[in-house]
Symmetry: C2
Subunit: 195 residues, 2 copies
């Protein structure tokens, strides 16, 4: 019994990993259950044993990325301290999570919203962005951020920089915390050397 | 005669503007000459009077973006002075050109390289990125950039931030130089207020 549920859990995790890879390669719309069955090396009926269909797989995959991102906002360093320090923590951890969960976050960033699940994912992603924007605003209100970059624009540029990592990062090339550290240096202190 | 060539030039420019809009909406692969004819309100044979086909329209469109980007590198402030100041100029102007030529640069950023023209565009884009990377390296070598962000990573993050503007910028929302100024502040001096 225990052995069987371990095997089931293993299959479900593997299936999700394969699914995300195929979705990222072919696009969600361009992927059939047949494609997933072939890529995972299991029958379609075995897949249906785990999930109701393609859309549930998408929900599980982007859900994993979203859960990891929202968990950041509950970390102690994200909820206590000066807003600018909380923001710095969230920016660093968002870059780290993006790299640690690269295929899942990549898929999330490509969601465009044609199905109910995609709408839901977009909505939760907007919600996360909004929570970070609130932190930027709070830090600006405290005078902790430079006054000549408008908070909403600062938030967009921060996410632009962080999300772009998904386009070039390849596992093994650099460590997640090395990249995250560079993002924090650039974002908060700028590239210019101290005079 | 003069009137006729004015009209021809007008038609070619309009055709290009319509083409870029349709390519950005449907994707280059998903656009037919029929789609372009309908969107431009002229016959296919009129289009063939201007260009040989879809791929030439793509070349003209991304060529316009590439020419505007490469022209930045020839501007006086990009070729003389300290590397960090030249880099700052290039970063500011790249953001401005992205906004001024938004549909053309958006199309360029989406090119994936399935045809000879797409390969050519990707190659020129890599070439531009490389020229900027050289400037980052020169500024780092002069000690003008902070030593704890590796130049190649700094270049990627800079382009990540700048290119992301194409995803959210809507004409009329902000001015090109307002956004470019914010990019420069964030990139060179960071968001943190002076202590």
């Amino acid at each position: 019994m225990a052995e069987n549920s371990t095997r089931t859990a293993y299959t479900a995790d593997t299936l999700l990993a394969v699914t995300v890879r195929v979705f990222n390669e072919r696009g969600y719309d361009g992927t059939s259950m047949e494609d997933l069955s072939r890529a995972a090396g299991i029958s379609k009926s075995s897949i249906y044993h785990h999930v109701r269909g393609k859309e549930e797989l998408l929900r599980l995959a982007v859900g994993r990325a979203l859960d990891a991102l929202f968990a950041i906002l509950e970390e102690p360093a994200a909820v206590t301290g000066r807003p600018v320090d909380r923001l710095e923590h969230v920016v660093r951890r968002t870059a780290e999570v993006l790299i640690d969960e690269l295929p899942y976050v990549t898929l999330l960033l490509r969601v465009r919203g044609n199905t109910a699940t995609e709408e839901w994912a977009l909505e939760r992603r907007r919600d996360f962005d909004h929570r970070v924007a609130e932190l930027v605003k709070a830090a600006a209100a405290e005078g902790e951020l430079r006054p000549d970059v408008e908070p909403r624009l600062a938030t967009r540029l921060l996410f632009g920089m962080i999300n772009s990592i998904a386009e070039w990062y390849r596992p093994g090339s650099r460590t997640a915390d090395g990249v995250a550290e560079a993002v924090v240096h650039l974002a908060f202190d700028g590239l210019r050397a101290e005079p």
